[in-house]
Symmetry: C2
Subunit: 261 residues, 2 copies
C-alpha cells in the first residue's frame, strides 16, 4: 500500500515527514508515549491489534511488530484470546526480574520488608547525578531491612525524587501492599521498566553490619541500582548491602528462552 495514504488525518502516521524511522518504530514510540502519558494504565488492556491498526492507519503486521518489541522489553504482556496488557509490578512474575538475591542452595523466595526509617532530605552529589537532579533537590530517603526465611539478609537505602512522588510519607510507604515498584506504579503512575546495577564488595558501615548480623570487617555485597521508567528517566537510586553468607546475586543473562516451557 502507498504510505502516502497515511500522511494525513487524526492519529494516523506520517511516513515521509519528520521521521525516517520504519513505521513500526513510530508505532512503538506512540504506544510508549501512550503508556508514559497514562492513556493506558498498569494492568489495563490496550486496544486490540485490529483497532490499533485502524487508528494508526497501518497494517496489523506492523502493529504486531511494534508490540513484539514492547513485549520483549516486558512492558506489555500478551494473552491469546484476551488481549494485550500493561505489565504490572504486582505479580510475582515481575519480581523475579527485579530481585536477584537467591539462596546459595538455589531456592528463590520473596523478601519480607521492614521499614527502618523514612526521611525527606536533599540529594547529595551522587544521588543528584544518578537521578539526573540538581544537587540539593528534595528527595525521600527510605531505609528497609529485607528478611529471607525470617532472617535479615539485605539493607536497602532508597532515594527517590520528591518531585515525582508528591505526598509520599512513611505511612504510605510502610502500609503498602505488594512490592515497592508496585506502590510506585499504583500510587504514582510511575512504572519501573529497567534497572542497571553496579556491584562491588566491601565492608558494610557499622550500623548496617549490625542489622545484618555481620561482624565488623566481614565482606558484604554492595549493589548500587538505578531504576528507569518508560522514557529512560531515572526514578530511583538504591544502595543495597547484602550478607552473602547464605545468599548470592544471580545474573542469568539473555534467558530470553525463559519465556518458554
Amino acid at each position: 500500500m502507498d504510505r502516502a495514504e497515511n500522511r494525513f488525518g487524526g492519529d494516523t502516521l506520517a511516513a515521509g515527514s519528520a521521521t525516517l524511522n520504519p513505521l513500526y518504530k513510530e508505532v512503538k514510540s506512540r504506544l510508549t508515549r501512550g503508556l508514559a502519558g497514562g492513556e493506558w494504565k498498569a494492568g489495563e488492556a490496550i486496544p486490540s491489534e485490529s483497532r490499533l491498526a485502524e487508528r494508526f492507519g497501518v497494517s496489523i503486521g506492523t502493529i504486531r511488530k511494534a508490540i513484539d518489541e514492547l513485549v520483549a522489553e516486558r512492558i506489555l504482556l500478551r494473552h491469546q484470546g484476551r488481549g494485550t496488557f500493561v505489565a504490572t509490578h504486582t505479580e510475582d512474575r515481575t519480581l523475579f526480574y527485579f530481585f536477584h538475591i537467591v539462596a546459595k542452595d538455589g531456592t528463590r523466595e520473596l523478601p519480607v520488608t521492614e521499614l527502618l526509617s523514612f526521611r525527606k532530605a536533599r540529594a547529595d552529589a551522587l544521588e543528584a547525578e544518578r537521578l539526573a537532579l540538581q544537587s540539593g533537590a528534595p528527595v525521600f530517603r527510605v531505609r528497609n531491612l529485607l528478611k529471607l526465611s525470617g532472617k535479615p539478609v539485605i539493607v536497602d537505602e532508597i532515594a527517590v525524587p520528591a518531585a515525582l512522588f508528591t505526598d509520599l510519607d512513611r505511612d504510605v510507604f510502610g502500609g503498602r501492599e505488594g512490592t515497592i515498584y508496585g506502590l510506585y506504579q499504583a500510587q504514582y503512575s510511575i512504572t519501573v521498566t529497567r534497572i542497571s546495577e553496579r556491584i562491588s564488595a566491601g565492608r558494610a558501615p557499622a550500623r548496617i553490619a549490625a542489622l545484618l548480623g555481620l561482624d565488623t570487617g566481614t565482606p558484604a555485597l554492595a549493589i548500587r541500582r538505578v531504576a528507569y521508567t518508560y522514557d529512560d528517566t531515572p526514578v530511583e537510586y538504591r544502595v543495597s548491602w547484602v550478607n552473602t553468607e547464605h545468599h548470592e546475586y544471580l545474573s542469568d543473562l539473555w534467558r530470553t528462552r525463559g519465556n518458554e516451557p
Copy 2:
C-alpha cells in the same frame, strides 16, 4: 496453505507428526541443530532466507520468525544485503556481553590476560555438578591473571571438561589470539551462547589476594560462572575473584534496546 504439503520429502518439515510445535519453532530447532552439528561454522553465512524456505518447504516469513529468535539470542547476526552469519567470539562486540567488569568511572576496557598455570586434573564435586560430569572426570584447570590499564584486577580459575577439549595444552591456551571463548570456538567448535553468574562477597584466598594486591581480609568479589553452548550443555565453570577497589560488576539487564542507536 495446507501444511500437509510439507509432510514428506528430504528436509521439509512434517507438521502433523511427532511435533505439535509451531513450524517456526521446528525451523529454529533445525537451525540450532545445524549450528551445534557444525553444518555452519562460526563467522560463516547460513543459506539465504529464500533458500532455507525452499529447503524446509515453508514460507520466508516462517524462516524469518525462526531466525528472529536466534538473532535475539545473539546466536545469529543479520546484515542487510550480505546475509545471516553465525556469531563469533572474535569481535569486541561479543566480549561486551561476556565481560562485566568496568571501571567505577564508567570506562570499559578489554583485559589483558596472563596465564598463571595450566593443569590436567580430576573434577571435584562442585565442578562435576556444575559441568554435569561424573565426579573425578578429567578436566583442564587454568588460572589467569587479568589486568586492566596494566594493573591486576581479576584472577580467573577456569575448569573445562577434557573430553570436550582434546589436546588442549598450555601452549594452545597461552598462545591464543583473541578471547578465550574465541579459542573454544575456533579450535574446538564449541560456541558459548549463554552464561549464568552467581556473585558473592568474600575474602580471597591468600595466594589470590597477593596477586590482586589485596591486604589479607580485604573484601573481594567472587563470581561463579557456568557457560553453556547451543543445546544448553555446560562447557565451562569459572570462578573469578575481583578487586573492586576501582572496578565493579555491571549488570545492565534487558538492554534489548541496546541494539538501537
